[in-house]
């Protein structure tokens, strides 16, 4: 390949990658509610939007060179390394870095990574496999060097590693990668089996695990690889890498290697698609004794509940048992430490909003609606009898009852337990507050149950292949999480909190039911 060919291949492969990155950005813009209404229908043909997305794409290309490396150093190298404070920081740094680098040779070769880019270029567009692979490979290695250099300088020097070593590290990392890949190519020529970094054999995984143990386990018991040995190895990688380059450039069977690993990738993608459906089907109980004597929608509901007992009732039952155990421990604790003061009581009773987050976390509403869609509604919604407004609402009422029942079990245990504990500490004078504690936990449980079922009926976020397609649904879920999380930090007297909770729950339920009765016959549809 001459210089011109290389630059042409590079331009084509880069613009290919860029094109679908740009289209991904435009597609994502179209998923955001409100913004999507402002965008024209033929979004992929609008020049200004394309320029905008191109700028974002270019910024990402540059930023990504450094961001991943920065994260790598902050977390895996220095972040974990900081735990071993008893050992000299430079030795820990070099030990952890060297070991992770060796793991990187195995898991992150670039050359044997089956990516979509490669699939489009080599298989679909039939580009010259060798030209494409090598251009892509060396571009990635160059990005590695540029990305590593500032990081090794900053983090190396911070950990008192000599400057010249910091400078050499990026080159030896890349050289080591090249050498490892070259060996894998030789191995391919001998055995005919292509290395695929996303589909490693069990012995290789065991080797990776052992390397990880050495990386983080050795310093934990006070040992690191001696600095001199690390430095010698890092330097030795460089001539080995130069040797490897020859093999990589002269290797002639890149098309075969790529076809093999890309076929494996497609197979993995296919099975990933089916996983959703299969895992949903696995939730269905195979027990042949399950039956129902009811009629119509109650019949449908009872069979659904019985065949999904494992994912619905079993999990809340376990929750209830765990909560009960915790309550008993707390009760015993309060009994034996008789001197829990008024002050502690005051503190506890102020922190009731914390339970909003706990109730959010233990609610099974989302799992319930997901199972409803995956195993029931996605098919029944294609039948017109099921879409009759009175049928939709009848079933909504039944499901509301069930979802509340499922979630009430742990809520009752938690609410009851809490009020008993508060009563034990606060005494009979606080009886009203204890009742409020119970009521607020129950109303929170009811609220979350109603909430999940309502947004499911009003937004019906899934498409026929059971992917969530509604941006609004995502946003509401996110807001639910954020609000519940913020409640952790809010302090309110139990009296106000309890009354607010009960009032909010009642108002929300009434509004939600009105909305569902008014809109669900129109909104509860399959998304096309």
């Amino acid at each position: 390949m001459n210089k011109e060919e290389i630059s042409r291949t590079f331009r084509i492969s880069y613009s290919l990658k860029n094109t679908y990155r740009v289209n991904t950005i435009l597609y994502s813009l179209k998923q955001i509610p409100l913004i999507k209404k402002l965008l024209p229908a033929k979004i992929y043909g609008v020049k200004e939007l394309k320029i905008f997305a191109n700028i974002l794409s270019a910024m990402w290309e540059v930023a990504s060179v450094f961001i991943w490396k920065l994260l790598y150093f902050v977390t895996l190298v220095c972040g974990v390394g900081a735990i071993y404070s008893r050992l000299p920081s430079d030795e820990v740094f070099l030990h952890v870095f060297l070991m992770l680098t060796i793991i990187g040779f195995i898991l992150n070769t670039h050359l044997f990574n089956p990516t979509r880019d490669k699939y489009y270029a080599i298989i679909l567009l039939r580009m010259d496999a060798k030209g494409y692979t090598l251009t892509d490979y060396f571009y990635r290695l160059l990005k590695d060097i540029i990305g590593f250099l500032p990081m090794t300088l900053i983090f190396g020097l911070l950990n008192k590693v000599p400057l010249w070593i910091c400078f050499i590290i990026p080159f030896s990392v890349v050289a080591g990668k090249i050498f490892y890949s070259a060996i894998s190519l030789v191995n391919y020529e001998k055995r005919g089996k292509a290395y695929n970094e996303n589909k490693l054999s069990i012995p290789v995984w065991i080797a990776v695990l052992l390397l990880l143990v050495i990386t983080y386990g050795m310093p934990a018991i006070g040992y690191v690889i001696p600095e001199k040995a690390v430095i010698t190895l890092l330097i030795a990688f460089i001539p080995l890498g130069l040797l490897g380059i020859r093999k990589i450039i002269t290797f002639g069977e890149y098309r075969q290697v790529n076809q093999e690993i890309l076929a494996q990738m497609l197979l993995q993608l296919d099975s990933a698609k089916n996983i959703n459906k299969k895992s949903a089907e696995k939730m269905i109980s195979k027990d042949r004794k399950i039956s129902s004597a009811k009629k119509g929608f109650e019949y449908l509901n009872e069979l659904f509940m019985k065949r999904h007992r494992k994912i619905l009732w079993q999990s809340t039952r376990i929750q209830a048992i765990v909560i009960l155990i915790l309550v008993i421990i707390a009760v015993i604790f309060v009994k034996i430490s008789s001197g829990i003061s008024e002050e502690t009581y005051g503190l506890m009773i102020q922190n009731m909003p914390y339970f909003v987050f706990i109730m959010y976390a233990i609610n099974r509403g989302m799992g319930f609606t997901k199972a409803l869609f995956m195993n029931c509604d996605h098919s029944l919604l294609t039948y017109s009898f099921f879409k009759q407004p009175n049928c939709i609402l009848r079933l909504f009422a039944i499901r509301l009852r069930e979802i509340i029942k499922v979630n009430l079990l742990p809520a009752t245990v938690l609410g009851g337990g809490l009020s008993v504990i508060f009563y034990m500490i606060g005494g009979s004078g606080k009886l009203f507050e204890c009742i409020l504690v119970f009521l607020s936990v129950i109303s929170l449980s009811v609220f979350f149950s109603v909430h999940y079922l309502t947004i499911y009926y009003l937004l019906q976020p899934y498409n026929p292949s059971t992917e969530v397609k509604s941006g609004t649904y995502f946003i509401i879920q996110f807001i639910t999480y954020v609000v519940s999380f913020i409640m952790i930090y809010i302090k309110l007297p139990v009296f106000i909190f309890g009354i607010l909770c009960v009032a909010f729950c009642v108002i929300y339920c009434v509004v939600a039911c009105i909305l569902v009765y008014r809109f669900a016959p129109k909104t509860f549809r399959l998304r096309n």
Binding site: E281, L303, S379
Partner: protein, 235 residues
């Protein structure tokens, strides 16, 4: 009975898929709706079944000279990929369906009689639907539509992925239930349309056009259809 489509229009992102369609379908006939990929056959069905909102137009049924709007109960829709509730057995699904529709279903028979009618084997009747084969799921879907006896039966490429035996069974079934209703059968397989249907309707350029069916194996007839579908503007 007649089913009339009046001034039906639908466009997506500025592209008009259905252009002011006016058409009248008659009772007792199987209509073969032919169109190229992307011509709008499924959109047409989805509009009739109210799965998507049409931009304009109305659907009416005319009986004994009286016209009325088409209601959801009038329409049965069999999709090309059959969908059935996985957590029910065939028998349970059938029972549930009859429970819900008992007011509208005439001369209810026993579940086994129904299963016999669509040749679903005895041992399969109490299996969960998730374990049914494609063909069996399809039969289940057809069965419900046969029981419900909708005035208009829409079939979206239902035979395309069935094996030869099931496909033949389904054709027989469709012929046996065609009286008293309007069956519209969409396909892009010309031979199937000619074999099964009484009338051929083309959907091209967003318009519906009836093709005179002169003789079943007339070469000229086939050529006429292909010519109509490949006309300029439909590329």
């Amino acid at each position: 009975m007649k089913f009339t489509v009046e001034h039906l229009s639908k466009s997506y992102d500025g592209k008009q898929v259905l252009k002011d369609i006016n058409f009248s379908f008659e009772e007792g006939k199987i209509y073969g709706l032919l169109g190229r990929n992307g011509a709008g056959k499924t959109t047409f069905f989805n509009c009739i079944n109210r799965d998507i909102r049409a931009d304009s137009g109305r659907f009416r049924i005319e009986e004994n000279g009286v016209k009325r709007e088409v209601s959801a109960k009038d329409v049965g829709y069999v999709l090309s990929t059959p969908t059935v509730p996985e957590f029910l057995t065939g028998r349970e699904f059938l029972k549930f369906f009859i429970d819900i529709n008992e007011k509208f279903v005439q001369d209810i028979r026993t579940p086994d009689e129904y299963f016999d009618f669509v040749s679903i084997d005895i041992e399969d009747r109490d299996k969960l639907l998730k374990d049914y084969s494609h063909g069996m799921k399809n039969k289940m879907q057809m069965l419900l539509n046969i029981i419900a006896k909708p005035n208009i039966l829409l079939l979206d490429e239902p035979l395309t992925s069935l094996d030869v035996v099931v496909s033949e069974e389904m054709k027989q079934l469709l012929r046996s239930i065609k009286s008293g209703r309007i069956t519209i059968f969409s396909t892009h397989i010309l031979d199937l349309a000619i074999d099964l249907c009484d009338e051929i309707v083309l959907l091209s350029h967003g318009e519906l056009e009836s093709v005179e069916k002169t003789s079943t194996d007339d070469k000229a007839f086939r050529e006429k259809i292909i010519e109509a579908l490949t006309e300029e503007g439909n590329e």
